[in-house]
Amino acid sequence: MSDKPTAETNRRDFLFVATGAAAATAAAGMVWPLIQQMNPDASTLALASTEVDLSGVPEGQIITVKWRGKPVFVRHRTAKEVQEAEKVSLSDLPDPEPDSKRVKKPEWLIVIGVCTHLGCIPLGHEGEFDGWFCPCHGSTYDVSGRIRSGPAPANLEVPPYAFIGDNKIKIG
């Protein structure tokens, strides 16, 4: 075989590209575990559900439970608060969502207690809308955990949960 470069692609070019492609694929395959090891491990995922007994939470109170290392607010809303949350017009909300979509039983609001701005924990029964107020950068949430003012872009997240009894929920 001559060393002279030819104008047309030949079998040697094919081998060259195929070898390069195989090496790149192998390198990518090797990098994948190195990246993937940083994602939540099995022990972190195993803590993914929590049961909460609601019978000890009087009306008007908020309790905080830990789920996946984060606080979850369980708020026993008063009839007045439920009414307030339901009558808010969607056009007043930066992240429009009706209250009914955020609860399974109107008196129980369950939201992840992490401000959607930069992850601080908002303080309950505070702020203009009597829901939550985040002390870090001043976001306020209403009694449905919806963002009303401040830099946070979204409502407090509702975690996946289910009622496993009249007074018991399972989060996660």
Partner: protein, 419 residues
């Protein structure tokens, strides 16, 4: 600046080594015979001061790592164990924590010096960009290290900073989870932050090597901004001139460093960091370390999460574009009457942003933060490009030697004046 080495090995061993690994001639050319502009002022000692601080941080950091435990249940106590039980542990930890502050103080002076004297201009663009990369890696290292004591500020700083990435559309939350190794800052986070905090200084060391290499290719800038024309007339050898000037600069800088370490070691710290991390309680005022405050003020000045995060990163990275944003052909602010004024306005705005970053983001503070943040970007994106074209510079001296001459004096008189 380069060329065949003038180094001649003096001993038999040096001759033997030189033929096999020319490290002695390399050191001689780079740190002994290397010509430095003879008009350098004390602002040029900050390169050496920064090298010293990097070594100081690595040395104190390595010994602290011998006593620290990166596990959420033990980390806070292991730091207290360093403070109380480990021989000299309290001083070593204070030296490391204050060392980070001194490192940033020195780097900010170094950066502003480069901005004043136009050190980023052709042919030093790569040198400058490497400097910006060093600054970014320093910030990452400082942030990771601040997490390790596992106090309240550690925990919430880590939470806020990692949540910056959640602003990225679509993949933001997955990236944050990936960075944390979970759904919140927890043991996996602390573990990896410790590993990375130990790694990054050595990467920093390598980039500093490139930075110094690039410096030795282009040669140093100098207060006149005029390139070296005549090695004999314009420069003096690095040793002893720069070596001893740097040594004095380091010595004076050390006075401040040592005074802070010994007498006010917690002045720049936050009392909340002596409370162990609690994932369920956010402190009422989260304040980052002082060296992040201007950028923190810019983040909070913008009432939109994604745009705030973009502005934060843009503010850190925009200096990398300086060689192209500053359109003036004149390097040194000495000969740029308008730029000189605007430079000090920029310094004042940067310090103002630092002050506002420590204040609550409300009312008049927020208003000023917005005005200052806007001015910060205005300086780079509007002012510098226009100023370079419109400004009428003052006459630039012909050479470094001429810049030192007394006006009206002849060549021979100049020799007498500087004798």
């Amino acid at each position: 600046m380069s060329g065949p080495s003038k180094y001649t090995p003096k001993s038999a061993f040096a001759r033997w080594l030189e033929r096999r690994l020319p490290i002695l001639s390399f050191v001689h050319d780079a740190f002994v015979a290397y010509p430095t502009p003879k008009n350098l002022n004390y602002l040029w000692t900050f390169g050496a001061i920064l090298s010293f601080m990097l070594i100081a941080q690595i040395v104190t950091g390595v010994v602290l790592a011998m006593h620290y435990t990166p596990e959420t249940g033990l980390a806070f106590d292991s730091v207290e164990h360093i403070m109380r039980d480990v021989n000299w542990g309290g001083i070593l930890r204070y030296a490391h924590a204050n060392g980070a502050s001194m490192f940033f103080l020195a780097v900010y002076i170094h950066i502003f010096r480069g901005m004043y004297y136009g050190s980023y201009k052709e042919p030093r663009e790569v040198l400058w960009i490497l400097g910006v990369i060093i600054f970014v890696v320093m910030m990452a290292t400082g942030f990771l290290g601040y997490t390790l004591p596992w106090g309240q500020m550690s925990f919430w700083a880590a939470t806020v900073i990692t949540n910056l990435f959640s602003a990225i559309p679509v993949v933001g939350n997955s990236i944050t989870t990936w960075l944390l190794g979970g759904y919140s800052v927890d043991n996996p986070t602390l573990n990896r932050f410790f590993a990375l905090h130990y790694l990054l200084p050595f990467i920093l060391f390598a980039i500093v090597g490139l930075h110094v290499w690039a410096l030795h290719v282009t040669g140093q800038n100098n207060p006149s901004g005029v390139e070296v024309k005549d090695i004999e007339k314009d420069t003096v050898p690095f040793t002893p001139y720069a070596t001893f000037k740097d040594a004095l600069g380091i010595g004076v800088f050390l006075l401040l460093y040592v005074w802070m370490t010994f007498f006010v070691p917690n002045y720049l710290g936050h009392p909340d960091n002596y409370i162990e991390a609690n994932p369920l309680v956010t402190p009422p005022h989260i304040v980052p370390e002082w060296y992040f405050l201007p950028f923190y003020a810019i983040l909070r000045a913008i009432p939109n999460k994604l745009l705030g995060v973009i502005a934060l990163f843009a503010a850190v990275l925009i200096p990398a574009a300086l060689p192209w944003l500053d359109t003036s052909k004149i390097r040194s602010a000495r000969y740029r009457p308008l730029f000189r004024k605007f430079f000090w306005v920029f310094v004042a705005v940067s310090l103002g942003l630092g002050y506002l970053g420590a204040k609550p983001a409300e009312g008049v503070y927020l208003l000023f933060a917005r005005v200052f943040a806007a001015y910060y970007f205005f300086h780079f994106l509007v002012l510098l490009p226009i100023l370079g074209k419109r400004e009428k510079p003052e006459p630039v001296p012909e050479s470094i030697a001429a810049s030192l001459a007394v006006p009206g004096a002849s060549e021979s008189e100049e020799g007498r004046v500087h004798a």
